[in-house]
């Protein structure tokens, strides 16, 4: 595998392979000196055109724990502000010889375009509303860690699905591993042609709450009010917010997940975030091991996704 642009590039076997490697790298992360020489001599460049804290730091830590060198690139201090095109920036950074580019951009498809302008591997760290594959991978890893497997789990994805790259990647990842996914949102926050997605849809959180293994909340932004997609955030929270009352009706052991950052009190009540079944910090922790696994798969010599004789 040369690039990771979409969860589709991995498929179920690829996701399982990432999780298997992430187990190894979790062990590495727990050592007194959490570092291995697997990618010594390799260089990973960060191309973040959009603000990001956790994803960017997570990739940087992951690369360093594999002994790769990291090249930073921050839009505010770069020539992008002087009007340089993405292609010119990619050409410039590529001329310095990185082995992988980690790309975040506000427009869908930019990582795809970048593959045409560099010989380095490209990892999609979030593109517009399209995909955020490493987020979905760390979520699969977290569910697998807590519940034993993703297959057969009933997962509710709740909130602004339409504008969410996390939702697109998670739906693909969860369903390809055999989970049953239900999207819950007001119709205005569902994507068009949602009947073509491999999911069930409900407009009522209350209707699905007592019958699920995971509630995966998504951020709901204030702008959605101005766009007439929501009457008000107050109404959203009343109908679709994961309040303390609703969280109490979840089956015992059901997980509360969220990719962050959280709009506390809008999509999830602050008290719910502090409950032991909320996995937000675990997701972040697993993110490092999962991104180590992804970097290793892309950059280590001969990373065969399907080793002979090994069942997935």
């Amino acid at each position: 595998m040369k690039h990771l642009l979409s969860i589709n590039d991995l498929g179920a076997d690829g996701i399982n392979e990432v999780c298997r490697l992430a187990d190894l790298f979790t062990e590495v992360s727990q050592r007194p000196i959490p570092k291995v020489p697997a990618l010594r001599g390799k260089t990973v460049a960060m191309l973040f055109y959009e603000d990001s804290t956790r994803t960017r730091l997570s990739f940087e830590v992951a690369a360093r724990r594999l002994s790769a060198d990291v090249m930073g690139f921050s839009v505010s201090s770069s020539s992008v502000n002087k009007g340089e095109s993405v292609r010119d920036t990619v050409n410039t950074i590529s001329a310095m010889g990185p082995d992988a580019l980690v790309v975040r951009h506000r427009s869908a498809g930019v990582p795809h375009q970048v593959t045409g302008w560099t010989s380095a591997g490209v990892i999609n760290a979030g593109d517009g509303w399209h995909e955020h594959p490493t987020q979905a991978l760390l979520d699969c890893y977290t569910i697998r860690d807590r519940l034993g497997s993703v297959a057969g789990r009933r997962i509710v994805i709740l909130g602004d699905i339409k504008h969410s790259r996390v939702a697109r990647s998670c739906v693909m990842a969860f369903t390809s591993l055999g989970a049953k996914v239900t999207l819950v949102a007001p119709p205005t926050l569902l994507p068009p042609a949602v009947d073509s997605w491999p999911v069930d849809v409900s407009f009522s959180l209350d209707a699905v709450l007592s019958d699920c293994d995971v509630v995966y909340g998504l951020r709901v932004q204030h702008e959605r009010q101005a766009e007439a997609l929501l009457p008000s955030l107050r109404e959203y929270t009343a109908q679709w917010g994961l309040t303390v009352d609703r969280a109490a009706r979840l089956p015992v052991g059901a997980l509360v997940m969220h990719p962050g950052p959280v709009n506390r009190g809008v999509e999830i009540a602050p008290e719910v975030l502090d409950q032991p079944n909320a996995t937000l910090n675990e997701q972040v922790r697993h993110g490092v091991a999962v991104r180590m696994a992804v970097l290793y798969l892309l950059l280590a010599a001969d990373p065969d996704l399907h080793p002979e004789g090994e069942a997935s």
């Binding site: 095109s85 869908a108 930019v110 375009q113 517009g128 509303w129 697109r168 068009p192 073509s196």
Partner: protein
Amino acid sequence: MSTVIKGGLVIDQTGERTADVVVDDGRIVAVGTDLSGDEILDASGCVVAPGFVDLHAHLRQPGAEEAETIETGSWAAIRGGFSAVVAMPNTNPPIDCAAVVQEVLALGAKAPCDVYTSGAITVERKGAQLAPMAEMAELGVRLFTDDGNGVQEAGLMRRAMEYAAGLGVILAQHCEVDSLAAGGHMHEGEWSSRLGIPGVPAEAEELMVMRDIALSRFTGAPVHFQHLSTRGSIAMVRAARQAGVAVTAEAATHHFTLTDEDCASYDPVFKVNPPLRPADDRDAVREGLADGAVDAIATDHAPHTMDAKERPFDQAPPGMLGLETALALALTELNLPVAEVVGLLSWRPAAIAGLKGVHGGPIVPDAPANLCVFDPQETWTVDPHDTASRSRNNPYAERTVRGRVRHTIVGGQTVLVDQVMRP
């Protein structure tokens, strides 16, 4: 000096016959057998047709000469067999008054094909105030459009139609309701949903088609619908025509060739407005061209620089090249008799543009010599770099197509010989 086109199958709206055609001093002087002339153009195995007429070309001048000029766009037209093009008014400054019309016509007079221009319906194409259509009509403008924008205000569109009818000119509408289309960059549907690209629903086009059919029925003024792209639009136009409403329509080559699935590459070369639609809409465009609901093939030739088309999909401008590939795509994709394809490209658009008798045939003695000779069987592979256009935003790269223009004659001048331009 006379030119004889030897041994071709002559096709015009009166029918087909194998004949030689002699051209002299700007006119066709003889059509028959065993004719001779000073220069001989071989047409054996080829069709001799009226020069094509494009109702919809963006020549980008004045204002965006880095993407195209009237001269380079005209050469692209010549290579596509077009003897006449109608320039769109979304230039900078826009073609919305006599002064800009005169500039475009002056540049067009030096171009190898006949360049006609449209004029804007409203000042600066902003949809607020009527443009001075009468002063533009006096300079020969026959077609008015705010192309790139639809006229959003129904009341203003009604007045524009009434005013235009009095001048004997036609209004051409880019049908798109802004409040439904705003922020969209491809067709809203399964593919936009999967790709995470904001969509434009088919209804953004269809609502304006519906409105303007009603306004045309109400005012009695003719309306021409530009680049129709949805099954619903074409069905409404078909029904309106049957009911005797004075509407006409064009379809762009890409709308009967490509689909929204092509956007999955995230290559902005596939971004166009109206957007590429699903296969069912593409098929409806083909059906409309076959049964007469749609009058004409237009190119919507829309050059953009490489830089502009390398932006992220949602930041790149819409539009794709079309003049040099229109005939081949029509012959390859439409599965229509050659004579019908010729009609869709020549006499039918000529009638809408008010060019009857000058362009679009018939091929008879004393008619103006605007002709195109093409081989309907030759297959070739599209190469974006092999172009007369200044731009390269050709979505058909590597596609193998059938049908190739060999010679083009405009006003009696042979400007293309065996695909080679003759300045």
